[in-house]
């Protein structure tokens, strides 16, 4: 299977890299928001997308367009992301294009799911939290990135 693993720069990306053993039997493609991260995943194909958040709304459309183009060319069977907003955009585009999607909410969200994570419960095939207290009928807990 071809898996696209996506995360924004920072803690989201660090958490994504800690999932690596889960991908061993599959073809893995990484995507993040900094060109400099290419060197961190030398064994995989790597794509860069623009970063955006609620403060930088103007970039959302540009970003969505680039994500659309990238996902069309990558054609993964499954998209997995640890956030944040660009990861959610990949889930949205991924579902529209017919790919399976997995949202793993950041371990930083200990009291409630992130805003993006809450939206992901409506969009994504699978949603995971890293805190058992936040498990629900739509959100599964199966362990942490620690």
């Amino acid at each position: 299977m071809k898996i696209l693993a996506v995360a924004s720069a920072g803690g989201h990306w660090i958490q994504l890299l800690r999932l690596k053993p889960a991908f061993t039997d599959h073809q893995l493609v990484y995507m993040s928001t900094k060109e400099e991260f290419r060197m961190m995943v030398p064994d995989s194909q790597y794509f860069v997308i623009p970063d955006f958040n609620r403060k930088k709304k103007i970039l959302i459309f540009k970003s969505l367009l680039e994500i659309w183009r990238s996902l069309k060319s990558i054609k993964p069977d499954l998209v997995i992301t640890t956030g944040a907003a660009p990861g959610l955009a990949c889930i949205l585009v991924g579902r529209i294009l017919g790919f399976k999607t997995v949202w793993l909410d950041s371990i930083a969200n200990v009291e409630q799911l992130s805003m993006s994570g809450k939206i992901a419960t409506y969009l994504s095939n699978h949603v995971y939290t890293q805190w058992p207290e936040l498990e629900s009928d739509k959100v599964k807990y199966s362990g942490k990135v620690l």
Partner: protein, 163 residues
């Protein structure tokens, strides 16, 4: 002796930088390097860097005797994996340091699980660093393995296998 201050890739954290500038003035023999984005602070006593490439960031991190960071999981996980002494101060949304107060909740939880020492104010941060530099406290926690918990890896492998 070197202290590396890291504040993430998203927003400035001027309160932390101000506190560390004061701290650096008290310990001129210690090297202070800060990685910050878009700051307005003109630090007098420490070296300030913007976004760092993974290689440069890693060099500073490895060389540091103490990591002082915002309560971001990237900082916390990286310090735990490298077994570095670490103290974090959560961003405060009421001061415009983040969109919400999740760093406060993260810090409390990670502190309760004994993963990290947390300072909640600038004074507490400066005092704790003072104690650390005078060898009166240890700030090293558990060592993390490089990968996620076995239960999470197994779950995802099963999910990928069935998809």
């Amino acid at each position: 002796m070197m202290i590396f201050i890291t504040t993430g890739t998203q927003e400035p954290f001027d309160r932390l930088l101000d506190a560390m500038d004061i701290c650096a003035a008290k310990f001129p023999e210690v090297e202070f390097v800060a990685q910050v984005i878009n700051t307005d602070v003109e630090a007098k006593n420490l070296k300030v860097e913007g976004f760092l490439s993974p290689i440069t960031f890693n060099d500073y991190f490895e060389r540091a005797d103490l990591i002082v960071g915002h309560a971001g999981m990237g900082t916390i996980i990286t310090a735990l994996v490298k077994e570095k002494a670490l103290i974090v101060i959560p961003r405060d949304a009421s001061l415009g340091e983040h969109r919400n107060d999740h760093q406060l909740a993260t810090a409390k939880k990670m502190s309760a699980l004994n993963y990290v020492k947390v300072a909640y104010t600038s004074d507490e941060l400066i005092n704790t660093i003072d104690l650390f530099l005078r060898n009166e406290i240890s700030l090293t926690s558990v060592k993390l393995t490089p990968y996620a918990s076995d239960s999470l890896i197994t779950e995802l492998k099963t999910l990928f296998g069935n998809s």
